[in-house]
Amino acid sequence: MTVIQNIASHLSVKKAGIAGAGGLGSNVAAALVRSGLGHIVIADYDVVTEANLNRQFFFADQTGQRKVDALRENLLRINNLADVEAHACKVTPRNAGSLFGSCDVVIEAFDLAKEKKWFAEWMIAHFPFKPLIMGSGIAGYGSLETLRMQRSGNLYICGDQKETEQKLVPLLAPRVIMVAMMQADLALELLLKDKPLPEP
C-alpha cells in the first residue's frame, strides 16, 4: 500500500461535518473527498445562483438546484463510494447536535459573522472536545502574508480576521478557496493525528 492509499484508507472511516455549502464549505468538501474521506455531512438551505460560480464548487448548469444536492452530485463524481449526507436545512441550535454530533471534526462555513458566532459558542458549550475549524476574513486578493490560522483549544480559525466593506472588497475565488484549503488541510491533520506520516 502506498502512503497516499494508507492515508485514504485511514480517512475512509472518518466523518466530517460541514456547516454551510458556499465558498468555504463546497471547496472544503471537494478537497476532503479527494483525499479519501469516507463520510461527510453537509447542511445548507440555499440554492445555487450565477453569482456563486465565481468561487463556489458548482457549475453553470446547476443554478437553481439546492446547494447540498448539487454538491453531493459533484462529490460523487469525484468518488462515487463517498457517503455524502446532504441536509437541505438551516443549521440551528435545535438541529446542530443531531447533524454534527457524530462527526470527528466540524467545519464552520457560514456566510454571516453572527451565524459564525452562535455556532462557535454552541459548539464550545455542547461539544468542547470536538475540533471546530472556522473561516473568518476571506475577502479580496493579495496580502497573502495576512492569512493565518489561530488556535484556541479545540477552536481553530483560518483567514485574516479582517473586516472589509463587502461592496468594495468582494469575495474572489483564490482567497476564498485558499482559506477553504487551510480548513481542509487542518481537518486532515486532526483526522490523521493518530496516523502520523513516516519520517522522511
Partner: protein
C-alpha cells in the same frame, strides 16, 4: 503582568486588568468577537468585570462575514 494574548506573550504595566481594558489598550473594537480566558468562553456582558492576571491565557477571535 505578562499574559498570553492570542498565543503571544504580552506585557502590560498594571498587575491586573479587565478584559474590556485590555481590548481598549490593544484596539480590539470589532462587533463580533469570541473571547476565551484560560479556555473558558466569556460572554460579552462579563468582559468589564472579568479580571485578567499574570500568566493568564486570553484569546480574542474576530469573526468576519463571508463564507
Amino acid at each position: 503582568m505578562t499574559i498570553t494574548l492570542n498565543n503571544r506573550k504580552e506585557t502590560f504595566s498594571p498587575q491586573e486588568m479587565s478584559i474590556t481594558r485590555i481590548m481598549e489598550e490593544k484596539s480590539f473594537h470589532f462587533k463580533m468577537l469570541i473571547v476565551k480566558l484560560n479556555g473558558t468562553l466569556i460572554p460579552r456582558e462579563s468582559w468589564p468585570l472579568t479580571v485578567v492576571r499574570n500568566g493568564d491565557h486570553l484569546d480574542i477571535i474576530h469573526l468576519v462575514s463571508g463564507g
